[in-house]
């Protein structure tokens, strides 16, 4: 029955391809993950259809009837070895394809022509591909490195110039961005489907995610590892802007934070705040 529904959904694919696939990718790594998704979907649907069609046809064909004597056959070894061989080939092919596309998705693409042209001062060093905690030996172009700190129940983003923002991450378009995921409390999952995948921030470790947004606009995501009472409200918004707007934003943000701190310092010094 699930198979029937799935097949129906597949038949409607051209009309609503994004009904049966994750949200449309807007980053090279999300592209690769999406391609891998479509390949595995075909394998999955094929398996479901094959098992259920075989099952249904056996039920229809071999119902008990008057005069039908069941054939007392048993399998030889050859049949089983062949069946195992077919399954092994399927598993091996899926495994190889998965590794190829997963590796592609992990390879951080360099910043494009419209992106923020970085110099060593604005970017961090020690950029690492996602899924590892050790940086690789060589790096082509340094990415824009932003620290994403998970906390109950809001994400905080720290930009290279020291400015920070809550809830909304602002990044320049067409720029290779690397997120360093850390947490101040429990495990938090950073998950913006359009920008490629889910990665957990775990205490005591730094995890990495990267993306290169291909269009300006707002992408929404959510925390995706259960994190306590207000978990469902812990959403993520990524605002992709032009490099100039990004530069303005972090400069303004830094100034505003500094101003706010100055006021607080003043108030403390003048005795207004205990």
């Amino acid at each position: 029955m699930g198979a029937v529904l799935l097949t129906l959904a597949l038949a409607a694919a051209p009309a609503g391809a994004n009904v049966i696939s994750p949200e449309p990718p807007h980053s090279p790594n999300a592209d690769d993950l999406n391609t891998l998704y479509w390949i595995t979907l075909i394998v999955v649907v094929a398996l479901i259809v094959v098992v259920n069609v075989a099952l249904l046809s056996a039920i229809v064909r071999y119902r008990e009837r008057r005069g039908r004597e069941p054939r007392q056959v048993r399998s030889g070894r050859r049949v089983q070895v062949r069946a195992a061989g077919v399954l092994a080939a399927l598993a091996a092919a899926t495994f190889v394809v998965s590794i190829v596309f997963t590796q592609k998705a992990r390879d951080r693409a360099p910043t494009g022509p419209q992106g923020l042209q970085t110099s060593a001062t604005v970017t961090g060093s020690g950029a690492a591909p996602i899924g590892t905690s050790t940086p690789p030996a060589s790096q082509s172009a340094n990415p824009l490195e932003i620290t994403a700190t998970g906390q109950q129940w809001l994400w905080r983003y720290t930009y290279p110039n020291g400015a920070f923002s809550y809830y909304q991450l602002v990044v320049p378009v067409d720029t290779s961005v690397q997120l360093d995921l850390v947490t101040t409390d429990v495990v938090h999952g950073w998950f913006v489907p359009e920008l490629g995948g889910k990665f957990n921030a775990v205490a005591g470790k730094i995890n990495h995610a990267w993306f290169r947004a291909d269009q300006t606009g707002t992408y929404t995501g959510r925390s995706s590892t259960f994190s306590g009472a207000a978990y469902a409200a812990d959403r993520i918004e990524v605002s992709v802007v032009t490099p100039q707007q990004y530069q303005d934003f972090i400069a303004r943000q830094k100034r505003d934070i500094q101003d706010a701190q100055d006021i607080v310092v003043q108030q403390i010094q003048s005795g207004q705040t205990p």
Binding site: I20, D32, Y37, R63, Q152, V202, A203
Partner: protein, 566 residues
């Protein structure tokens, strides 16, 4: 002990008949103090079915909250408590104990044992489990656990879960896992030592083999879980740092240990369901299993490969990509044994004469739904796919397809199949059919929309979702489906209750089974068997039927139908 050559039936040895002896104490006291595997097995099965109802109620309540966007019916803390109770109830109080109960009742009969090797240990397993269940639900009078289905530290550490709920979770799960270890030790000893003469390992019925593999697995992963529980208890109560990331411990350690348990438990439920289905399909096709060897080897391989793939739950964590690929390799290798089992089950039906009675109906539905769930799980075991779909409601859906398929459809198949043995009565065929189709419809109606919602990015364990995210319709249908599923479960349980009193009386062998449990009376006397044949093949009852047919030459078919034990 040389068996007589001519016949498989040895003359009966006079036994003291105790089954008709008047009971001195009330029935419930007899049951509660009994160490007989049949009594303990029945208590496990009855208890787990009760918790199935409770888990269903909890699931339906959570689905009600998620019926419409931004619902305020349940407070977030209340939802999270419900979620934590549901997870514990569904896994530790329903699915695994149902397997345990069925194995404990049926397998000693299947191997021709008159008792289990360590009956008091088996009895203790039940009472530890009951104590664990009582501990968990005692928290309703103060604070239930609220750290989720798998309470990952630091969310379950003292700093972020200061209430006693987390301690209750640890205490009850610890008691239950200790019970599982007791059960496993007893079952392993029983299977090693108490098989009937001639019943070699290779001649074990599929369910008894599944129990052999499954009890080793359950014993192993329960000990791992007990280790994790002990460490978290240290962390919470005596300033331990096992899971404190900043103090030199690691939160990932809990994830490794607990996922070994949960993955192993998942595989146990699959193995047990396949074992039961591999008894039912041949019996109702009136054909031998297509390849016993392939199915038996596959069940063992599932236990090993499936459990070794525990890190497939941790692809998003900083564990190093190599470990992710290792887990993926194990998960994809497990496709071979899973596929071989399904292939052999369907091949068994080919060329047979299928009697579609209630046990067979449930078994066929289980095969279909398990296939859907396992195929989806295969897709999500690919690292890149899991990055997009892990912890979305897609994962909820595929896990539930596989586990509802195995534990509820497969469990009910096994229950319909062995209920006549346990009670002497058959489960109602009509209500069985109705409940089956309701459950099947409810399962698909409830979980297929969640597949689609997951693709739109809805994540698991949330107490609400927002409007305008494109998942409102899916969630409404899923909630309606949950009610249909719940109705089906209630009908199935009602069938059990009615049939206990008024089911059609069944003989000792209502289905024409081929393994030794069908030789015993229904229900079996406390000592199970008055006399046992020497087992010469993996189908001892078929041998007996053939022998009787040969002895009563002229009696022919009629003799074969008559009771082999006078």
């Amino acid at each position: 002990m040389t068996p007589p050559p001519a016949t498989t039936l040895s003359p009966g040895r006079p036994e003291l008949v105790t089954s008709e002896y008047p009971q001195r104490r009330p029935r419930w006291i007899e049951l509660a103090t009994s160490a007989d595997h049949k009594d303990v097995g029945r208590m496990f099965i009855g208890g787990s079915l009760g918790f199935l109802l409770l888990a269903t109620v909890e699931w339906v309540l959570m689905r009600l909250q998620l019926a419409i966007p931004e619902n305020t019916m349940l407070r977030p803390e209340f939802f999270n408590r419900l979620l934590s109770l549901y997870g514990e109830t569904a896994i530790f109080l329903f699915a695994i104990p149902l397997v345990v109960g069925l194995v404990y009742y049926v397998v000693p009969l299947q191997i021709g044992a008159r008792t289990t090797a360590l009956p008091r240990l088996g009895q203790m397993a039940f009472w530890l489990w009951a104590a664990g269940a009582a501990t968990l639900y005692s928290s309703l009078i103060f604070t239930p656990p609220e750290s989720g289905v798998n309470p990952l530290p630091p969310l379950s550490s003292l700093a972020f879960a200061p209430s006693n709920g987390a301690d209750v979770w640890l205490g009850s799960t610890g008691l239950i896992c200790t019970g599982f270890v007791c059960f496993a030790v007893n079952m392993i000893a029983t299977l090693r030592n108490l098989r009937a003469p001639g019943l070699a390992w290779r001649r074990l019925p599929p369910f008894a083999w599944a129990a052999t593999v499954g009890t080793w697995l359950l014993g192993f992963v329960s000990v791992v879980m007990l280790g994790a529980i002990t460490m978290l208890m240290f962390d919470r109560n005596v300033n331990g740092i096992f899971f404190e990331g900043d103090a030199g411990g690691s939160p990932l350690l809990w994830q490794h240990l607990s996922w070994i348990f949960f993955n192993g438990a998942y595989m146990l439920i699959m193995i047990a369901a396949f074992g039961a289905i591999a008894e039912i399909v041949p019996t109702f096709s009136r054909k031998p299993l297509f390849s016993r060897e392939a199915v038996m080897a596959s069940l063992a391989a599932i236990a090993v490969l499936g459990t070794l793939a525990w890190m497939q739950n941790m692809y998003s964590d900083p564990i190093g990509i190599g470990w992710s690929y290792f887990a993926m390799a194990m998960a994809m290798l497990a496709v071979i044994p899973f596929g071989l089992v399904l292939f052999n089950l369907i091949a068994t039906m080919m060329g047979g004469a299928l009697r579609i009675r209630a046990p067979m109906l449930f078994a066929l539905g289980a095969i279909s739904m398990i296939a859907v769930g396992l195929a989806c799980e295969l897709g999500q075991s690919a690292v890149g796919v899991a990055w997009q779909l892990q912890n979305t409601s897609d994962a909820t859906a595929s896990t539930h397809y596989a586990l509802v398929g195995a534990a509820i459809l497969g469990g009910l198949a096994a229950l319909h199949y062995w209920f006549p043995k346990m009670t002497g009565r058959t489960l109602g065929e009509r209500l069985g059919g109705i409940s089956f189709w309701t459950i099947l419809a409810g399962l698909n109606l409830s979980f297929f929309p969640l597949v689609l919602a997951g693709l739109q990015g809805q994540v698991v364990d949330v107490y609400k979702f927002y409007s305008g995210t494109g998942v409102s319709g899916y969630n409404l249908v899923a909630t309606i489906g949950a009610f249909v599923l719940a109705l089906g479960i209630v009908l199935a349980l009602a069938n059990v209750v009615f049939s206990l009193r008024s089911g059609v009386r069944a003989g000792h062998d209502p289905w024409g089974g081929t393994s030794l449990e069908w030789l015993a009376l229904s229900p079996p006397p406390p000592h199970n068997f008055d006399l046992l044949p020497d087992v010469r093949s993996h189908e001892p009852l078929r041998d007996i039927r053939d022998a009787i047919a040969r002895q009563g030459a002229g009696g022919g078919e009629k003799a074969a139908e008559s009771q082999p034990v006078a």
